[in-house]
Structures are given as structure tokens and as C-alpha cells.
Symmetry: C2
Subunit: 317 residues, 2 copies
């Protein structure tokens, strides 16, 4: 199994992973579910793997990329909204005052999203995300956000798909935001993206059907919401789950506990030099305490980013 | 195109459809989107077709099959619920008093669903639907409900999939109810089922993760809800929509209006002898007035069940 798979580099499905127990665990899991006749064999139709996005497939520091988009949109739209001057949360956003924003909690975040994401059609929203993604760059890495995916995780996505898995995103981020680029960035089609959902309303405008993004949130795909979101959209339990924070705890539980064959993995951010190092005290999102405590008892694999990953980011495109 | 496709029976993808403009329209649409180099060509990844279920893929008379399940469940569970004696809606359900039930409207229906579908895990619910479907029979046709699908529509599903379409269900019925059997009955996997969604809550019970079906409805996938449901789960517009009532009007609009290539179809129930005949005045659900009025202007194909369908039901299994 393992020796044959990784001893020769041309056969290595995970070349950006350093050899060691983490890499071995991934390969052993995939081999165990694909080995016909084995008691751990899983039919291709049930090979479902779910991935958190922020902090698991790409960074979430200094702020999640969707929040960076929202703040850039606020600035772009502010000239037409003089009334935002009286709103302290929007002012904090316009001034990149992240500490104040974070203090405002979920209520503040929803105000930012309502101002930057709503009262437009879904078509117009898609265009705005596309336009932003063409030029906006990460403040530290000076690369476009959509190019900043983790190369080791891209390899896991491809390796799983090569073994007849269907790969899904299950993220606290907005589904509408992610679907614009999920296929291009991860090879994941829009219908395999589960995310938070804003209120949306159908209507006819001058004889044409439109969907309007309205203020407010109708579903939060985080924590206990993740298994619920998986149930609502996928309708069955995955056999593999990849996350990085306590927001993924329930998804990991739902995927792995009391299952005949399953796999859970947590990306632990341990590399302050090449990326970021945090768990209990993240800069913005991504607190990791409970899921880390429960990892050993549940057999979840914990990635030590610093030592397990030979490369962090995918090459420049 | 048409002549070649249907002149020889061994090549006929739709043998249960009588030759005529309806059958031709379906075949011409499929040939137009699959003909490489044609201006109407659509790449396989965008070949998405959505199907209403009740009244489109199987009957909805005398009552929708899910309501038949709910009433059978009420009767099975009633001995443990003496308190139901004081509830007039549940009493109407227990007595098969459909007129009273229908008078109680959506509020009454939700009471029936709450009593028959909730306060259990999703796993227990799946078992109950499976058990019911093994024996419960349609009162008129004396066949099991899940065997009562329309053969002509089964052929359309298979024909589209043979031409690299992905087929989806978009129904006002409960997603949890349909997903139990969608693959077996229609060859449609659970993740390609969009339906109404009940409240669901994640929890740990004696160390095991569970999803509990709770009272109340969090999303109604009907009328304007259909394009919203499609957007939430599929994340893009289908190119073909099949329905049978005004509940499908907005889905048909969203799929077809101002699209380069698209197809809309309405199943009109015109065969009282072999099935049922209704439009403006259905027995329970399936009112068809507005969508029928708008069919011609939008180029939607209207199936005359009596004359277009050589066979109604799939053969006994
Ligand atoms: Ca995360
Ligand atoms: Ca219907």
C-alpha cells in the first residue's frame, strides 16, 4: 500500500506533502475505500468528501477573503451612499478598522454584508465578484486572492476525485460568493458548494425573471449548521471531512462517529513564517480548541502545516 | 433529425410517446443542444433539466403521495397520541376527511406534517418512509405508490441523461421524503433533489451525532420558491424545466425567458379514463391556469396526456 504508492515520486499523489504519518493516513484511507472486496470498500456513489474553505483550502488571515471583498465593495459603493456616514459599523469597514468590526459581532457582519451584497440581482452580484477577483490582492502575499489556495489541499482534492470521490465545499462563507469561482479554483461545480445563504426573492422586472439578493440571512452554514446544510443539500452523510476550526466540529462528528469507514482531518495552522500560526486565538476567524481536543479520541488526523506541508501555496498562474 | 430519430422503433428514445408535435419538440430540443458546432449547442456541464414531481412524474390524485404517507403514519401513531382526539385537523386526517383537511389550508397541512414527520431522527424517518413504500398502495390503481410513475416521463429522464444532461427534481414535496427513493424510482441521486425543507437540528445523543426533524418548515419549494430553491442548491439556471401546474410557473419563467437555448414543458392532465383530467379545478393540488395561459407566448410545450402518451404508467415491477 503506502510504500508502493509513495516510494516513487512519479506515483506520488501528494507530492507537496512531506512523508510521515499524516500523508500516510490520507493515502491509507483512500486505498482502504477503493480496494474491492475489502470490508472497508465504499462504492463510488457513496464516496463523498466535504471541505471547509477558509483556513482549510486557503487562508483566512488577516480577514476571510469574502470580508475583504465586502470591504472593497463598501469603498467602491460609498460615494453613492452618504447615509453610511452615520453608521459606525460601516464606517469601521470603510476605515479597515477590523478590531471595531470584530467587536460588532455577527450583527455587525450582517450589516456589512447587507450593504455590500444585497439589493442587486444574483447576476449583478456574480459580475461584481468576478470583477473584484481579477485584481484584488492579498495584503501580505501580494497575490490575487483566488490564486492563494493551498497546494497540498489541491492535491488532496484531485487525488480523491481520481479515486471517484465527489468533492464538496461546506463553508460558513456565502454560497453565492463561492459559486462564482468554485469550479475554476477547485474544480468543484456550483451544485457541490454548500454555504451560508442570504435571503433571495424571485420577481419579474420588465418582463424578465430575476432573483434579488435581499438583506438578512436565511441559513448560517457553521457549527451545528454544517451537518444540517449537508443534510439539506447532499441528503446523506459524507465519508470524509476536512476542516480547521471549531466551526467544523459538528461536521467532523457527523461524518466520522459510528461510521464503518470514515476520515476526519484538521488543518492546524502552525507555520507563522510561510503562512500563519494560530488556534485558540485567531486574528479574526478560525478558533480551534474543542475540535483539537476531540481529535485524538475520534481518530481525526491533525495536519501540522509547518512540518507536513513541503509547499504551502499553489504555483503562480 | 426527427425523421431519422423516430422512424425506426429501435432508435426511438421515446417509445411511449405518440408521434406528433410534442414528441418532436422534445427530440428537436435535445438534438439542438447536443449538435456540436451548432449555435444552440450547450456544453454537457450546462445541460441541467429540472422536473416537478407530483403531477409531472407521477400522479397527485386523489391526494399527493406524501400526504397519503402522512395520513397512514397518523393512523399508525394515533394509539400513542390520545391528545390528537382534541385536534380537529388531525381528526380529519385520521378519518380520511380530505375536504376538511383541504379547507384547513397550509396551516392544517403543517399540523399533519408536524404530527407525522417530526420529533424523530432523520434515520428513523428514512426507515418509516421505506417501510410504508413497501406495502402502501394507491386506492384506484391498486399498485404501490412508488411503482406508479409515468412511463413517458421516465423515458424523457433516461433520454436526457443519455445525452449528458443532469436531471434534477424540483418539487413542493419534502426533500427528506423524496430522497429516500429518488435514486431507485427515477435514477436521481439524493443531492439532485430540491424540495421543501423542514426544520432540522443537530445534536449529540448518548455520544452519537443525530439530526432531529423538528416541527415547522424552513423553506417552501413552490411557486416563487422554485427558482429560489434552484438557486440555493444548483446555483445556476437549468436549460429545461418540466412541470404541470401554476406552482411551476416561476420555475418555467426562470428556465426559459431570455435564454439562448431552453425548453419548457407542461403536462396537462386530460385523460380521465387512464389517469385524471383536471386543470383549473384539481381534486387536491395541481391547479393549472396561469402557466397554461402563458405557455404559448413563452413557447412552452403542452403535453396532452390523452393523445400524446401511448402508455401512462411504467410496467409492473
Ligand atoms: Ca475554516
Ligand atoms: Ca406538480
Amino acid at each position: 500500500g503506502l510504500f508502493v504508492s509513495s516510494a516513487f515520486s512519479q506515483d506520488d499523489p501528494l507530492p507537496s506533502w512531506n512523508d510521515g504519518p499524516t500523508k500516510s493516513a490520507i493515502i491509507e484511507f483512500v486505498e482502504s475505500v477503493t480496494r474491492e472486496g475489502s470490508p472497508t470498500f465504499v462504492r463510488p456513489i457513496n464516496r463523498i468528501a466535504v471541505f471547509d474553505n477558509d483556513g482549510t483550502l486557503w487562508p483566512e488571515d488577516p480577514i476571510p477573503f469574502q470580508l475583504a471583498f465586502a470591504l472593497d465593495e463598501l469603498k467602491r459603493l460609498a460615494p453613492s451612499h452618504p447615509e453610511w456616514k452615520n453608521n459606525p459599523v460601516l464606517q469601521a469597514g470603510l476605515n479597515d478598522d477590523i478590531p471595531t468590526l470584530l467587536t460588532s459581532g455577527e450583527k455587525g457582519l450582517i450589516e456589512i454584508l447587507d450593504a455590500s451584497h444585497t439589493k442587486i440581482t444574483t447576476t449583478e452580484f456574480d459580475k461584481r465578484v468576478q470583477n473584484w477577483s481579477r485584481t484584488a490582492k492579498h495584503p501580505r502575499f501580494k497575490r490575487r486572492y483566488l490564486d492563494l489556495t493551498y497546494q497540498p489541499m489541491q492535491e488532496v482534492l484531485r487525488y480523491l476525485r481520481a479515486n471517484k470521490f465527489k468533492t464538496w465545499i461546506v463553508s460558513g462563507g456565502g454560497a453565492d460568493f463561492m459559486r462564482v469561482w468554485s469550479r475554476r479554483v477547485y474544480g468543484i461545480p456550483p451544485e457541490q458548494v454548500i454555504g451560508s445563504v442570504g435571503n433571495t426573492k424571485f420577481g419579474m422586472q420588465e418582463g424578465l425573471p430575476v432573483l434579488i439578493k435581499e438583506p438578512g440571512v436565511s441559513f448560517v452554514d457553521d457549527k451545528t449548521g454544517k451537518p444540517v446544510g449537508i443534510h439539506r443539500q447532499l441528503g446523506r452523510r459524507p465519508i470524509a471531512a476536512f476542516g480547521n476550526s471549531d466551526g467544523d466540529l459538528e461536521m467532523l462528528q457527523w461524518t466520522t462517529i459510528e461510521r464503518k469507514t470514515s476520515f476526519g482531518l484538521i488543518v492546524h495552522h502552525t507555520d507563522a513564517v510561510r503562512e500563519y500560526a494560530y488556534d485558540a486565538h485567531p486574528k479574526s476567524s478560525g478558533k480551534l480548541v474543542k475540535a483539537l481536543e476531540q481529535a485524538k479520541g475520534n481518530g481525526w488526523v491533525v495536519v501540522d502545516m509547518k512540518n507536513d506541508w513541503a509547499t504551502i501555496f499553489s504555483p503562480e498562474k
